[in-house]
């Protein structure tokens, strides 16, 4: 077992599944010879050939749309969109077709595809490269939206996403791509979809997040522990469909909840979690649910992106507000 980064883990999972399942094909812009703009597909074309690791023309609509045609023929396409900011061209295909194909044919055809895209800010990228718009896809019935936050979960969840019989949007927090290393066994074992991961047990407050913000809430939990506050940390991982039971169980224990996401506040996934807590967990709450999120503003160019994204300080302050209540 070796220590790998999150982007290495994505590469490992792709290679493992391509080796195990000849129906898996990888496609996207620059994924072949170049190995992807973040090198997530590095070496795959050399190993599996240009037919299975396919450099497409610069056509995001085509990439999503042809994945549907590939999937309907029994292949398992794993498509890469270079950045979340370019994913919007795929949305007609993903919403009108991929998400609906099984339903509109009553199961005659299905669409086992994965659409991968790096998302989120914090790497001083150019305009349109730092968005966190996962809620757009989470709104769509028929899709799964999966977001890993560590190398281990990237490996296990990507394997699960490829093996899933329905379309999965797999969003990779690019700020974490090379932030941490972790020992990951390349054993082909998938992690479960549709469930939250409890990363740290605590008694005073539940911190809920996904993607790169997991690292902020873990740091916040450390700081809070130093001042005697015990925080439970939940990585939602699959934001659609949402495993509310794990969150409700935790909040039943702690009585407080702070939801953290990088995406803009209004209609973010945090709003859904807060609404369900109000519907099903209100009597457990000792304090109003807090949200620490990106602002309802366009994510600034990188001079100011730090000001936009939730910081450890903002998270700790929100936790303290819930404890004062």
């Amino acid at each position: 077992m070796s220590e790998v980064t999150l982007v290495d883990a994505v590469n490992m999972a792709l290679a493992a599944e391509m080796a195990a399942d000849p129906s898996v094909v990888v496609l996207g812009e620059d994924v072949g010879v170049n190995g992807g703009v973040f090198r997530a597909t590095a070496g795959l074309q050399q190993r599996f050939g240009p037919q299975r690791v396919l450099d497409t023309p610069l056509s995001e609509t085509l990439i999503a749309g042809m994945s549907i045609g590939l999937a309907a023929e029994g292949l398992k396409p794993v498509a890469e969109i270079q950045f979340m900011g370019f994913v919007y061209s795929t949305m007609d295909q993903m919403i009108n077709h991929a998400a609906r194909l099984r339903n509109r044919t009553r199961g005659r055809l299905s669409c086992p595809m994965v659409l991968r895209a790096p998302f989120g800010g914090g790497i001083h990228a150019p305009e349109h490269h730092s968005e966190s718009t996962e809620a757009l896809f989470a709104h769509i019935p028929g899709l799964r939206v999966v977001i890993p936050s560590s190398p281990g979960r990237a490996y296990g969840l990507l394997l699960a996403a490829i093996r899933d019989p329905d379309p999965v949007i797999f969003l990779e927090p690019k700020r974490v791509y090379r932030l941490v290393k972790q020992e990951v066994a390349d054993n082909g074992e998938a992690l479960p979809l549709d469930v939250c991961f409890l990363l740290r047990e605590g008694t005073d407050v539940t911190l809920v997040s996904w993607g790169a913000m997991i690292h902020e809430i873990m740091t916040a939990a450390d700081q809070l522990a130093a001042s005697g506050i015990s925080a439970e940390v939940i990585d939602v991982a699959t934001i659609k469909p949402l495993d509310m039971n794990t969150i409700l169980d935790s909040v039943a224990k702690t009585g407080r909840c702070v939801i953290v996401h990088e995406a803009a506040r209004t209609c973010g996934v945090g709003a859904e979690i807060a609404a369900q807590l109000a519907e099903r967990g209100l009597m457990s709450l000792f304090a109003p649910v807090e949200r620490v999120t990106g602002y309802d503003a366009i994510i600034p160019l990188f001079n100011l992106e730090k000001e936009y994204m939730p910081s450890v300080g903002r998270i700790v302050a929100a936790v303290k507000r819930t404890l004062e209540g």
């Binding site: 050939g49 240009p50 023309p57 056509s59 609509t61 549907i68 309907a72 099984r102 028929g142 329905d166």
Partner: protein, 465 residues
């Protein structure tokens, strides 16, 4: 000579595809091979070119590039001849090149000439103006084409009547465009895959979709697209041109698995303005996929006439930009359509690559039953277009050759009538899907998070009973 080179090229393309598995071949790389570049003349994707000066003359005119389009006896009507001239910048480059200055090889400039051919065999008066092709040589073949067109038209009339009586939802008619579906359905192989838009009922009927299926779909029941026909065919596609990228994916899968199958994608004239279509034909040309695009150019995209849809003289020429042949066919001439689609399928099956067929027809109906075409086009125009419709001309010809009598006609009408009525009865007697079915096909298995909502639908639908 030209034909020989042309036939040679796809073989080479395929062998590159199959043979160089371990080398890094990017999307464009396997086109930029040195053996293509050494020829002075190149067409859009290099496939049509490789012309020596001797071969050029005979090969440039028929850009349709099938063996038949070079056959003098084939009824070819040249509608349009386009030439792109060498730009000033490229002239400079050519001059530099002559002086021996380095020019990056991938930036080589070429002058592209193309012609868009228009194919017709049976004219509007039912007169043969060309040679009957193999696929429609026997009277039985012609009669089969005739029968499916008549059946589709009677079905269409009935569907509209049902809609007007409130027994069917919005319905998109194929009136006047029956020949396109009839031709497609006649020549496609069972294991080919059809990607229809929403006026290809004749093709769908021939591929085993029932009239009741179509009625169920427009009648608001998803079961209509769970048809028993070719189970791998795609369902009707309402978002315009959205099915074109799907067809590319399926064609790519066919090529990857080395199968002799073809994806057939049908879209309307309006659809050719969509990015989905442009991205799809571009990719199909890039990879020389086994795919046939058929454009039902019925003159109108709801209220938008063809002339205002694009500045391009023909829709077929869009294929030239994508690197494969495009041609126009009289879309009301089911014989020519059958022939040209048959040849395009054959070519795709042989690994030669895609073809775009622009079928010139006319939408004799409203866009859908929710439309009123009198708001944007004259009754006179529609009246004139009835002269060209596809069914009458074939009947005239069948009468001419003594293969179709008035009693045959009456028998056909009666049997179609019975078939349609049976389908209507089947449709009207099909119970709606249970309300919870909205969850039952959303994912392969229902996520736990949705169980409560499904239970709520069950509970409330019982309360409503």
């Amino acid at each position: 000579m030209a034909e020989f080179l042309y036939l040679l090229r796809p073989h080479l393309t395929l062998s590159r595809w199959r043979g160089r598995k371990s080398t890094a071949l990017g999307g464009g790389q396997w086109r930029q091979t040195s053996w293509v570049r050494k020829y002075r003349w190149r067409m859009a994707n290099g496939r049509a070119a490789l012309l020596t000066a001797k071969a050029r003359k005979e090969c440039l005119l028929p850009t349709g590039l099938s063996e038949n389009s070079q056959n003098r006896s084939d009824p070819v009507f040249c509608m349009m001849r386009g030439t792109t001239t060498v730009t000033k910048e490229s002239e400079k480059r050519v001059r530099k090149q002559k002086k021996g200055a380095a020019v990056p090889p991938q930036q080589s400039h070429s002058s592209v000439h193309f012609d868009i051919h228009d194919h017709r065999i049976l004219d509007a008066d039912g007169c043969l103006v060309g040679r009957l092709p193999e696929c429609a040589k026997q009277p039985d073949q012609l009669i089969a084409l005739y029968r499916i067109m008549v059946k589709t038209r009677l079905f269409d009339e009935k569907a509209i009547a049902l809609q007007r009586r409130g027994q069917l939802g919005t319905y998109a008619s194929s009136l006047g465009q029956e020949a396109i579906g009839a031709a497609i359905g006649t020549v496609m192989a069972d294991d080919d895959v059809l990607f229809p838009a929403y006026r290809e009922y004749a093709a769908q009927f021939l591929r085993g979709v029932t009239m009741a299926d179509i009625l169920l779909y427009w009648g608001g029941n998803e079961q209509g697209m769970n048809f028993k026909g070719q189970r791998h065919d795609f369902p009707i596609c309402v978002p315009i041109a959205g099915q074109a990228p799907h067809a590319v994916g399926t064609a790519y899968a066919m090529k990857l698995c080395d199968e002799k199958r073809v994806a057939v994608c049908v879209i309307g004239d309006g659809g050719t303005s969509k990015g989905d279509f442009c991205e799809a034909i571009n990719a199909a040309g890039t990879w020389a996929l086994p795919i046939v695009f058929i454009v039902n150019n019925n003159g109108w995209a709801i209220s938008m006439p063809r002339k205002r849809q694009t500045g391009a003289e023909t829709l077929a020429q869009k294929a030239i930009a994508a690197g494969f042949p495009g041609e126009q066919v009289d879309g009301n001439d089911v014989i020519a359509l059958t022939d040209r689609i048959d040849q395009a399928l054959h070519k795709a099956r042989m690994g030669i690559g895609p073809t775009l067929i622009e079928a010139l027809t006319y939408r004799l109906c409203d866009h859908t039953t929710a439309d009123d075409a009198s708001r944007y086009r004259s009754g006179q125009e529609v009246k004139e277009q009835w002269h060209y419709e596809p069914i009458k001309r074939l009947r005239t010809y069948l009468n001419e050759i003594d293969c179709w009598s008035e009693s045959d006609e009456q028998e056909l009408l009666a049997s179609c009538h019975d078939e349609v009525e049976q389908a209507v009865s089947c449709y009207l007697n099909t119970p709606p899907q249970p309300p919870e079915s909205m969850f039952d096909y959303l994912y392969q298995s229902l996520p736990a998070a949705l169980e409560e909502q499904r239970a709520s639908v069950v509970q409330w639908s019982k309360g409503n009973e």
